[in-house]
């Protein structure tokens, strides 16, 4: 049974009964989630879970601590309050700690779909059966997941702040494998009816079939067309640097670069939880309403996000992007919306003399934190383009590429779409055509 607002408020009333702190906050949540997983054209894992969480933060004489439990009974609530109080008493005071925020007003977002919350294991299995049939039609092997679930979260504090959000999630991803090649496609949405699993299966199958018998190219700098999932997974390693505390502590690649022309003039990015293709709650980890923040405007680093504590420290205004306290990170943008262009991927291919089309990237890691050099591999559908046409599949390549340089070399963009990968959170991003993307080596498949 998913948590209602009324139930969450009742739990918080009990928290206040047991907390003797100067200030008390509780984050109360519950989740019901199920995932059907298939591989080798069969369902091999099929799981469901239900659970809740109560996380109590107390402040006592400017000493702060948090204690959590996954039980809502009276004894567990009391124990969490006492544990948080005991932890708080044992530490030195923080003279910079702000009082908790008072009551806030939130703009509503509607991200709960009953049809997603009610999706059954039988319905997921029937969909998977059709996807497997598509694989078998061409002698392919399918692997993937179909998941659905819902969660609810309330955030309350003793100064009268009261916030509540509920949302459904669904995801379908599929990898189609041939003997020498593979293809992949994925989609997520609060509404399971938007996933279109069979269309995704068709797309993954076509990629696997069209990249059969992949050839090798020499590593080097090439024009690449990055599909939205590839763009997303790269950008995920950049936008955590758009955080006020990261800059204040000089661990961000934007240290000394805010207000400067860092990227190409065609790059425009904002953080916008209210975008219709975005997901998540309209408040942050302290219950502060999320604001739209322009991060990059015509290539200039225009803004960064701030938690209340960071904003106070740096003389800025909070933007509603703080993480639950206490934490080391401060804040982070999580609803990235990148403006795109009007060029389709097909048009990008037609405009390319020699280059690569990349479906997705894999195992991306930061090599250099200030130059923002990332390394990683292509995966599940990498193609050679010549004279405006996709010619054949390629063996996968390793890249080493600075994100700062890459976002100065974007030649074309598609309209943005909600994209999902495996390395970061979902974003609204376009496909991109990028010149001089740097590949350093090949692998054996």
């Amino acid at each position: 049974m998913i948590l209602s607002r009324q139930h969450a408020e009742e739990i918080f009333a009990k928290v206040l009964k047991y907390s003797t702190a100067d200030e008390t906050e509780a984050i109360i949540s519950s989740t019901a989630y199920a995932l059907t997983r298939f591989a080798n054209n069969t369902i091999h894992q099929n799981v469901a879970e239900e659970g809740g969480a109560l996380s109590v933060r107390v402040v006592l004489d400017r000493r702060m601590a948090r204690a959590s439990t996954n039980k809502f009974d009276e004894a567990s609530i009391r124990h969490s309050c006492e544990a948080a109080l005991a932890l708080a008493r044992l530490q030195p005071p923080d003279p910079e700690l702000l009082p908790m925020p008072g009551p806030q007003t939130f703009r509503a977002v509607h991200r709960f779909r009953k049809e997603t919350a009610q999706l059954t294991p039988q319905a997921r299995a029937e969909t998977v059966r059709r996807v497997i049939a598509r694989a078998e039609k061409d002698g392919l092997t399918a692997a993937g997941i179909f998941s659905s679930g819902c969660f609810a979260m309330g955030l309350f504090n003793s100064r009268g702040l009261s916030a509540f959000h509920e949302e459904t999630v669904s995801e379908f991803s599929v990898t189609m494998l041939d003997e020498s090649s593979s293809g992949w496609a994925k989609k997520t949405s609060p509404n399971c009816r938007e996933l279109q699993p069979e269309a995704l299966a068709e797309r993954a199958a076509r990629k696997a079939l069209e990249s059969r018998a992949p050839r090798e190219i020499e590593p080097g700098k090439y024009t690449v067309i990055l599909e939205p999932a590839a763009v997303l997974d790269l950008l995920g390693y950049l936008f955590s640097d758009f955080a006020g505390l990261a800059i204040h502590e000089k661990r961000s690649c934007l240290t000394g670069r805010v207000g400067q022309q860092v990227f190409g003039a065609n790059i425009n990015v904002r953080d916008d939880v209210y975008h219709p293709r975005q997901s998540g709650a309209p408040f942050d980890g302290e219950g502060v309403p999320r604001q739209r923040v322009t991060l990059i405007e015509q290539g200039v680093v225009k803004g960064v996000v701030y938690a209340r504590q960071t904003a106070h420290k740096t003389g800025a205004e909070p933007t509603g992007h703080g993480l639950p306290l206490p934490n080391e990170i401060g804040e982070t943008p999580v609803n990235i919306v990148m403006e795109g262009g009007r060029t389709s991927i097909q048009e990008m291919v037609r405009s390319t003399k020699r280059g690569l089309l990349v479906t997705r990237l894999w195992y991306i890691r930061e090599v250099d934190p200030y130059q923002k050099i990332l390394t990683g591999m292509t995966r599940d559908g990498t193609f050679w383009i010549e004279d405006g046409k996709v010619q054949y599949g390629l063996r996968n390549l390793r890249f080493n590429q600075s994100m700062i340089e890459m976002l100065g070399q974007v030649e074309m963009m598609s309209p943005p779409e909600r994209a999902a990968g495996e390395e970061t959170f979902d974003m609204v991003v376009p496909a991109m055509k990028v010149r001089d993307f740097s590949f350093s080596s090949l692998t054996k498949f």
Binding site: A34, F38, A39, N40, T42, I43, H44, Q45, N46, V47, A48, E49, G51, A65, R66, S68, T69, N70, K71, H79, A84, L87, A88, L90, Q91, P92, T120, P121, A125, T141, G144, I145, S147, L177, W184, E249, K250, T255, G256, P326, N327, E328, W362, Y363, R365, E366, V367, D368, P369, Y370, I373, M377, R379, R398, N400, E422, S440, T443, K444, F445
Partner: protein, 485 residues
């Protein structure tokens, strides 16, 4: 715990499960950290619940709940059977498990000093002392230190009559000094990156690490890296410190030997493996001096992959993986062992928590020691680079092509360390790299490292794994490739 577990088993049986196992878990964590002179995170959490895994109509189902009431346990067990019947709609072959005998046992991992009894104020005092030592060095712009304690109490019961109670206490500790200067961020970590050292031990691990004593050296290295020469690009002999080598083992041996990857179970997410079945007993994985085991037994040491029984009730084992360079073994489960005709699981099924199914995970995948000291190894190297402490890591989805970066390097010329190098990276192909290993230091330089953050599975699971290693040398390796223009 036992009542809930038995009740779930009975319900699963009554609903038609041909096999069922139940794990009831209680997990407690305390996480304490400091940053630039102040406590950063001071928090505790507790999570308990029950997971029911069943086979019905020849297919798998799993359901989990944190509501340990009689009604909820019944509902969860019934749900697992319903899910298994849905799986059967898309089933090619009925699930078959390698045989395993019934076990009734209990095991408590050795823990000399319970970390949950150490006053929080004592822990924070220690972290703040480390913090002060780090920030005493001019040029350190960020000082971070952490202590992380976890207790995992678990009861496993199965429809075959097994009943296994285990308790593990795990401790992690470490710190990081970061220095920003000009257009460069440099970082040094101790005793390892990404949280430090983790073992299945009590607070005694913290006492062994001498965190305060090591802080000045680490802080000075972080600042000195700004003045160091850039790691050159080219082909060099490299010596990997044991911490970095632990991660090299993890990525390029530990993951490829997981038989579920080999058989395609992870094709959509974590990936597959180049170690296809015909390579078992045939592939010269490494040079003849290389011997690797996957050893979960307490005799191997207090690794994060140490236990008495895995999460299918299979006893911990020491499985030879590479013998004299030859590939000889996989990490297996009861299902995958049966699939390739092996008589028994190697005991490598592990679940992150009560709400996750067990998957094949690394236990302690360790490189057995050779001989000699690090100093002797450096003295016998003409033109090389000694690299220590991981900074970045990446490998393809079949585990061939890898690239690693480390926090620090030292140039070696004619058997002597000549200067510090910054931004070291190296890259290669797994089997070529391991066949280029020509020296492994001895047992006195061997450390059983903990990797607390290994991700796998959908929904994702994070697992701690162990990796024993002593410093080793690899000939003619591509270095500096990440920064090559």
């Amino acid at each position: 715990m036992k009542d809930f577990a038995q009740q779930a088993l009975e319900t699963a049986r009554a609903r038609g499960a041909s096999y069922a196992d139940v794990r009831v878990m209680d997990i407690r964590q305390r996480y304490l950290s400091t940053k630039n002179g102040q406590p950063a995170q001071v928090r505790e959490s507790e999570s308990s619940g029950l997971g029911v895994r069943v086979v019905a109509e020849g297919a798998w189902g799993f359901a989990a709940t944190d509501d340990l009431s009689r009604a909820s346990v019944d509902r969860t067990a019934a749900q697992a059977v319903t899910i298994a019947r849905a799986s059967a709609l898309c089933q090619k072959h009925a699930v078959s498990l390698a045989p395993e005998t019934k076990v009734v046992d209990r095991w408590l991992a050795p823990c000399r000093l319970d970390p949950f009894t150490v006053p929080v104020s004592t822990c924070l005092d220690l972290l703040l002392k480390v913090d002060a030592e780090l920030r005493r060095v001019e040029g350190v712009t960020l000082a971070e230190a952490v202590l992380d304690f976890r207790r995992i109490e678990q009861l496993f019961v199965s429809s075959q009559g097994s009943e296994i109670y285990q308790v593990k206490t795990q401790t992690g500790a470490g710190f990081v000094a970061t220095s920003f200067l000009g257009n460069e961020i440099q970082r040094r970590s101790y005793p390892n990156s990404f949280g430090g050292q983790y073992q299945t031990k009590g607070y005694e691990l913290v006492e062994e690490l001498d965190l305060v004593g090591q802080a000045p050296r680490i802080a000075e290295e972080a600042v000195a890296l700004h003045r160091a020469a850039q790691c050159p690009s080219g082909v060099k002999d490299i010596i990997l410190g044991s911490g970095q080598l632990g991660l090299q083992i993890h990525e390029s041996i530990g993951h490829p030997i997981e038989l579920d990857r080999v058989l395609g179970s992870e094709a959509n997410y974590a990936g597959m493996s180049f170690l296809t079945l015909e390579k078992l007993g045939q592939l010269q994985y490494a040079s003849p001096i290389v011997n690797v085991v996957a050893d979960a037994t307490p005799a191997h040491g207090p690794g994060l992959g140490t236990f008495a029984y895995d999460d299918e009730g299979v006893p911990a084992q020491c499985t030879p993986i590479i013998e004299d360079g030859l590939f000889v073994g996989y990490l297996t489960s009861r299902e995958t062992a049966a699939a390739i005709g092996q008589p028994r699981s190697s005991g490598a099924m592990r679940a992150e928590a009560w709400n996750r199914i067990p998957l094949i995970r690394m236990t302690n995948v360790s490189l057995l020691p050779g001989q000699g000291t690090l100093e002797e190894l450096i003295a016998s190297t003409d033109d090389g680079i000694h690299m220590e402490t991981n900074r970045s890591w990446s490998i393809d989805d079949r585990r061939y092509n890898f690239q690693f970066g480390t926090e620090i390097g030292w140039e070696i010329k004619n058997g002597k360390v000549t200067r510090m190098l910054k931004n070291p990276t190296y890259a290669g192909i797994t089997t070529e790299f391991w066949n280029a290993c020509d020296a492994i230091c001895g047992p006195e330089a061997w450390t059983l490292w903990g990797t607390p953050n290994c991700g796998k599975g959908q929904p994702p699971q994070t697992m701690g794994t162990g990796h024993g290693a002593s410093p080793a040398r690899f000939r003619k390796v591509q270095v500096g490739v990440a920064y090559k223009d």
